[in-house]
Symmetry: C2
Subunit: 451 residues, 2 copies
């Protein structure tokens, strides 16, 4: 039986698998995690609105109704295309056709040293780490006596004004200004300063300029400082150095922004296996490491090798590359599955044709921007569509109707019930305090004896 191996259980891989489910081929889905992650809602986990389980579905549960599909939790390390063999960290897997759909991870443009100071948001662990840092910042600010240090704790910097940066900035603003309003006694969370740094001339550069402007206005109204044309040149544990003019190449005056909570939403690159694929097949990569694929999503000289989703660099007829959106990955995954089935039944292949359904970015409660065909939407209408689209996906994959209930609940109560500080050291507030606060020193007045 023809054996299709699908590497990666994201949108591309999962759609490919579902379209091969119940057909005459044997399928093995390989992922190093045991769940499909609904990445578009990861920012909700990072800000305490949803729990990891709400936006992740066990791959086995999603696929268990297809008896021809096997799920394998494993990590691919190498590829032997001549022998059609995928090498794993602990074994190997022979295939007749391979679909690679491992997506992208965040990318610091050569500044990997920035990673510990400015975590990106691509995995559940990333989201929990950012959540941890956000809520530790509020706890630390509540305890801090020195004004400038407290301000640094309350300075939230988000690097990158794409959809991820915008939604994170909006969510942190709502958290500080609404959810936590009454939770602290000394430090007013409403004093938190949330700054969105974007190197280019406008946020949401993938959207029409009018929507970028709407989004910027809305963010400003929510209390987010939007700084475009601002390029980050350094990130360390105490903050960020920016250069004005940014990507526009304008000025060169540097500025230092003190912050203890920096999040990275500025760049992605193809996951590591892309380099392996390029090396062993001779396929080209673009500057982000994406594999340049043929019009049928396969690699030159390797009709049995598909690359789909965010990791594929696919040029449409008009020269535009496909956007890194879930619907694009899903369409490619389905296309690859159908192409394999057509071959199996002796039919000739068709070229992939992308149907752009639209693009949405959520800013906060009630607010989003979106283009749907020629329609440009913003505000509540766009938000409703955003909500509908995302809930639909969640229900399609895993019947997660409860997330809708959870959201409705959060919406009414403005609660974020999952704002837990968890992890190896749940109480790391000690380290940042320096020598001047001696051990055993009494806490400030409101916390010391006043009777």
């Amino acid at each position: 039986m023809h054996h299709v191996v699908i590497l990666g259980g994201g949108f591309g891989g999962l759609y490919a698998a579902q379209n091969l489910g119940g057909t005459g081929v044997r399928v093995t889905v390989v992922d190093k995690r045991n769940f499909h992650l609904f990445q578009p809602l990861l920012y909700q986990v990072a800000t305490g609105g949803l729990s990891p389980g709400d936006i992740a579905s066990p791959l086995r549960a999603v696929l268990n109704r297809y008896r021809n599909i096997t799920v394998l939790q494993a990590e691919a390390t190498d590829l032997d295309p001549a022998n059609r063999r995928l090498l794993l960290r602990d074994g190997a897997l022979d295939y007749d056709t391979l679909i690679v759909a491992t997506g992208v991870s965040h990318h610091y443009f050569g500044h990997e040293g920035w990673a510990p100071h400015a975590p990106g948001l691509k995995t559940i662990e990333d989201a929990l780490e950012i959540r941890r840092r956000i809520f530790i910042a509020f706890e630390a600010a509540e305890r801090e006596e020195r004004d400038e240090v407290r301000r640094a704790w309350m300075n939230f910097l988000i690097v990158g004004g794409g959809p991820s940066g915008v939604e994170l900035a909006g969510a942190i603003a709502e958290l500080a200004h609404t959810t936590l309003r009454r939770d602290f006694r000394r430090n007013d969370p409403a004093q938190a300063k949330i700054t969105l740094l974007e190197g280019s001339g406008r946020i949401l550069p993938g959207f029409p300029p009018a929507l970028s402007q709407k989004a910027a206005q809305r963010l400003a109204w929510m209390g987010v400082t939007v700084r475009t044309g601002t390029l980050v040149t350094e990130i360390d544990e105490a903050g960020v150095t920016v250069r004005h003019g940014g990507a526009l190449g304008g000025g060169s005056d540097e500025e230092r922004l003190s912050s203890k909570m920096v999040t990275w939403a500025a760049g992605v690159k193809a996951s590591p296996i892309s380099d392996v694929i390029a090396r062993v097949t001779g396929a080209k990569q673009d500057s982000a490491g994406r594999i340049v694929v043929k019009p049928d999503m396969t690699l030159p000289g390797h009709p049995e090798l598909f690359v789909v989703g965010d990791m594929a660099h696919y040029e449409q007829l008009d020269g535009q590359t496909l956007p890194g959106l879930a619907p694009a990955a899903m369409q490619q995954g389905r296309y690859a599955a159908q192409a394999i089935l057509r071959r199996q039944s002796g039919k000739s292949g068709r070229k992939f044709r992308y149907r752009h359904k639209g693009n949405l970015a959520v800013i906060g409660r009630n607010a989003a921007v979106g283009e749907l065909g020629r329609l440009q939407l913003s505000g509540f209408a766009a938000w409703l569509i955003w909500l509908f689209v995302h809930i639909s996906y969640l229900i399609e994959f895993d019947n997660k109707v409860l997330v809708l209930v959870q959201w409705a609940w959060n919406y009414v109560t403005r609660k974020r019930g999952a704002r837990l500080i968890t992890g190896a050291d749940p109480f790391p507030l000690v380290a940042p305090r320096d020598e001047e606060s001696a051990d055993g020193a009494a806490l400030p007045e409101t916390q010391s004896k006043a009777g």
Copy 2:
């Protein structure tokens, strides 16, 4: 203003705080975590049924309506009763009255080396680690070719037949035999062997013998092997050594049980601050480190020092100590709060009187045992009461009505949607494979090329 410091935001501390909320004293609640954890449902997180956010409530959110209460995330390290000062890892806090309610943690009876091989279940991190191990065991068994190793992966051992051990054993049995039924292709999860080891003569020794027997029967029906009179003498990475006769002192023949998934539910001891309290106040401790308190829950010679909840060793008039149950901790917390308020208004103190409302242990879907007054219940009725009681607490503290919906959903669909393998190394399947499976060796037939 009289300043009450409450150390610990568990059931005892939270009830004390709520009873002091809106009164004429100033209150500071100190906890090293930023949330109250609903421990009775931790086993649901460990088995993928609920997410951490479902059973944890931010302390600030629970208490933010009381303007006289301040929440402080901090860790207490020492106590200076003469100066009424609580020393923190990074500061100090002066009090007029101190309520200590830091509870218990698990205890390996001097065998601390067992901890890495048999994690206990007391914190969110514990639950996520056990969840991780459970689901890795199923993944590993699916991949394992050698029968005896696969059997070791599918051997789940729970040490300790108290309520925690019983609910964990029941939940793992349901997981293996129902939820995961169709999720694997090579290894049948229904073959999982779940064994509950209890040193004494019966499980649930805190319950009437008839209910212990009912629980044992139900567990057996669910596929759990219950072994009483079986004492654990050694735990290492490959399994457990037990001695028959156990606490009864009967036999002495040792037996080796291979297992890669051992959970510890056998013993608790008072949290570390209890030793500090005993040292600086001269208070007595029992064998589990609990502080022996006076009839008014204070320490001898220290009327300003209350110890409540699981950490208090309190002898009732009949000589019985209070059970380590949430309702007991709540009653003690409320009592301490009321005692402080009575003193403030010049009234004399009352002795604490515990009202035993009952005792419940859940075994699984539809099944629990419980004693309520003189009534002994088992089966569906007991389960309904268990569900009602637990949901009531969740709603009382944090309005978590959604957990009820989640449960109803899980109940109907038998789903456990939060079965994610997360953490630092989400894919640790490589290590356990030993030399005989050489690198690059092809996987077994079902996963390799088959034409």
